[in-house]
């Protein structure tokens, strides 16, 4: 009888049915999480009381490895941080090392680095948007997203020969100049990728099922996000227009014309929309760079950092010595410490390097955006429904390699 009395208020009925909170574990390697993570959930029915997010499944001692190699030997490890956007990591590490050394790369090198960064951002966003649809059970946009990403990876391949583990940027320059015909190839591939991406956009953005899962879920106020150290599309979706490319311009971003999209709600749908718009802005940046690409060298003219041309090494004594010393001893930045931030695909990607004047980094820390973003997820899902974890985790876009280092 009591139940019918309380029948007007649905909660009163369910209160009588309360039992123990249910504890379940999502992951490691849950099919709907892109990134290996374990979430220990405490549930009241479908509602999440608490979530303990456990990372570290991809921890492989990035920092220890970097400290035991030479300065330039850390670059391949940075590829494997965020493997969805490897070039940005390369650029970030090399910029930090160059800041330590006090050198600046010539304009052409900077433009190419900007192109490389934005190509990688496209790759990351295609992956994130496609995978998030897949994890909400829409397979087609994922396949389209991957197809668009293939075009972008063709550009990686043209630049450096590898599709994922690029290892393209060098301290003081680049592995090589652009291959012949790259500008036209890049324009063509960009057009093809965007055409496919337009289909993803058409399939998802106004899709009622997709919107219902995304709208209003995973929301956290901007002040909380800042307190958690969240950056990137997540923070911008909440209305804070913080973008390292605008706030502390590096490379040639201050000469380029692009917008930083911001959202207003800070929910998953806004995060999705911000990423979609960033794809178009990245394409805009690449177009501008291709138009204005200057001629000239891509490397700094400094034999302590970059190898001399092979023709000189084989024919002249000085250059032979330079190459020998660089190969056997490596570069020796002055003692000191620097922090350099770049805008990664998921937020502020920082490198904190400490040198004691020897040929090896004393400390090679990476401030990973995924780490702080994943940390904030606990508050995003607390009180939400179990099903909201999937879209929230998608939009956080936790990349194991970067989060676990």
């Amino acid at each position: 009888m009591r139940d019918t009395d309380a029948g007007t208020d649905g909660h009163a009925i369910s209160d009588d049915l309360h039992g123990e909170p249910l504890e379940i574990q999502m992951g490691p390697s849950h099919p709907a999480t892109h990134g290996t993570v374990r979430i220990n959930l405490k549930l009241d029915g479908e509602r999440i009381i608490d979530a303990d997010i456990q990372v570290g499944y991809l921890h492989r001692g990035y920092e220890k490895e970097c400290e035991s190699g030479e300065w330039s030997q850390a670059i391949p490890y940075t590829d494997r941080l965020n493997y969805a956007s490897p070039m940005i990591n390369n650029v970030g590490y090399c910029l930090a090392a160059e800041k330590l050394l006090g050198v600046t790369v010539p304009p052409r090198g900077q433009f190419i680095r900007t192109i490389a960064s934005e190509i990688s951002r496209l790759s990351d966003h295609f992956t994130c948007l496609g995978a998030s649809a897949m994890e909400l059970a829409a397979m087609t946009p994922f396949l389209y997203g991957v197809q668009a990403r293939e075009h972008v990876w063709d550009l990686h391949e043209a630049l450096c020969g590898a599709r994922v583990t690029t290892n393209y940027v060098r301290i003081g320059g680049l592995q090589s100049d652009l291959p012949p015909g790259f500008v036209d190839l890049c324009r063509g591939k960009l057009k093809a990728a965007l055409a496919i991406f337009a289909d993803v956009d058409r399939l998802l953005t106004q899709n009622p099922i997709f919107r219902e899962r995304m709208e209003g879920t995973g929301r956290l106020p901007a002040a909380d996000l800042i307190a958690y150290g969240v950056t990137g599309p997540l923070l911008r979706a909440a209305g804070v227009g913080y973008d390292v490319r605008k706030a502390e311009p590096y490379l040639v971003y201050d000469q380029l014309d692009f917008d930083v999209p911001v959202g207003s709600n800070g929910d998953n749908y806004d995060r999705y929309l911000v990423r979609v718009e960033e794809v178009h802005q990245s394409a805009r940046i690449i177009e501008q760079c291709l138009d204005r690409l200057p001629e000239g060298p891509v490397d700094v003219d400094d034999p302590r950092l970059r190898w001399p041309a092979k023709s000189k090494v084989f024919n002249r004594m000085e250059e032979l010595i330079d190459q020998f010393k660089l190969v056997t001893e490596g570069m020796r930045p002055p003692a000191g410490e620097v922090y350099q931030a770049v805008e990664g695909a998921n937020g502020e990607l920082g490198f904190y390097l400490v040198s004691n004047g020897t040929g090896k980094p004393w400390k090679c820390r990476c401030r990973a955006p995924s780490f702080s973003n994943t940390h904030a997820m606990r508050d995003m899902v607390r009180g939400a429904l179990l099903a909201d974890i999937v879209p929230t985790f998608d939009m956080i876009n936790m990349i194991g390699g970067e989060c676990d280092r």
Binding site: K64, S68, V338
Partner: protein, 175 residues
């Protein structure tokens, strides 16, 4: 920076800027107080804790240096705070009460360097398992050291036995 000096005087031990990165070395005992001031002061407004880590200067005393990277999103400036902690009792105040993001970052620093953060609500290892012995980013932790949860011998034992049984079935007692 001048403001910080004026207010905390002797507890700001040194201030320098290398390649444009402003750095202040402070007394570890007053870290939380200084950080709260840095966050709440209207002109400084360091609302964003970008990173917490440590550096192991082995052979010097105090051995460890805990490093904080702060940023003000509203004002746009950055600051690096450093505090030295000793080898025998590496502990420092926790900043979880100032910036919530410090939670995981401090757990990571504990995991990697073994620095205790007083007042941290849940100081567990974050990457490694609880049974792990030592802190791998310390310079005296050898890179080659392996600590599998299940030892190689345990893993191999049943497999080797099965192999032996298979061999015996196949080749008889002469194998």
């Amino acid at each position: 920076m001048i403001k910080l000096r004026a207010r905390f005087d002797a507890d700001v031990r040194s201030v320098h800027a290398f390649r444009g990165d402003l750095t202040a070395e402070i007394a570890p005992a007053r870290l939380v107080e200084i950080c709260r001031y840095l966050r709440d002061d209207v002109e400084l407004a360091f609302d964003f804790l970008a990173d917490v880590t440590a550096v192991d200067y082995i052979g010097t005393t105090p051995r460890f240096e805990v490093v904080y990277h702060l940023k003000s999103l509203t004002r746009g400036h950055r600051l690096r705070l450093k505090a030295r902690v000793s080898e025998d009792d590496p502990r420092i105040g926790s900043l979880v009460g100032v910036w919530r993001g410090a939670d995981w970052l401090e757990r990571e620093t504990w995991d990697m360097y073994g620095i205790r953060f007083d007042g941290h609500p849940d100081l567990r290892r974050i990457y490694l398992y609880e049974e792990f012995d030592g802190h791998p980013l310390r310079k005296d932790y050898p890179k080659e050291r392996r600590q599998p949860l299940v030892s190689r011998a345990d893993l191999d034992a049943p497999q080797a036995r099965r192999q032996e049984e298979r061999d015996r079935a196949r080749y008889g007692r002469w194998h």
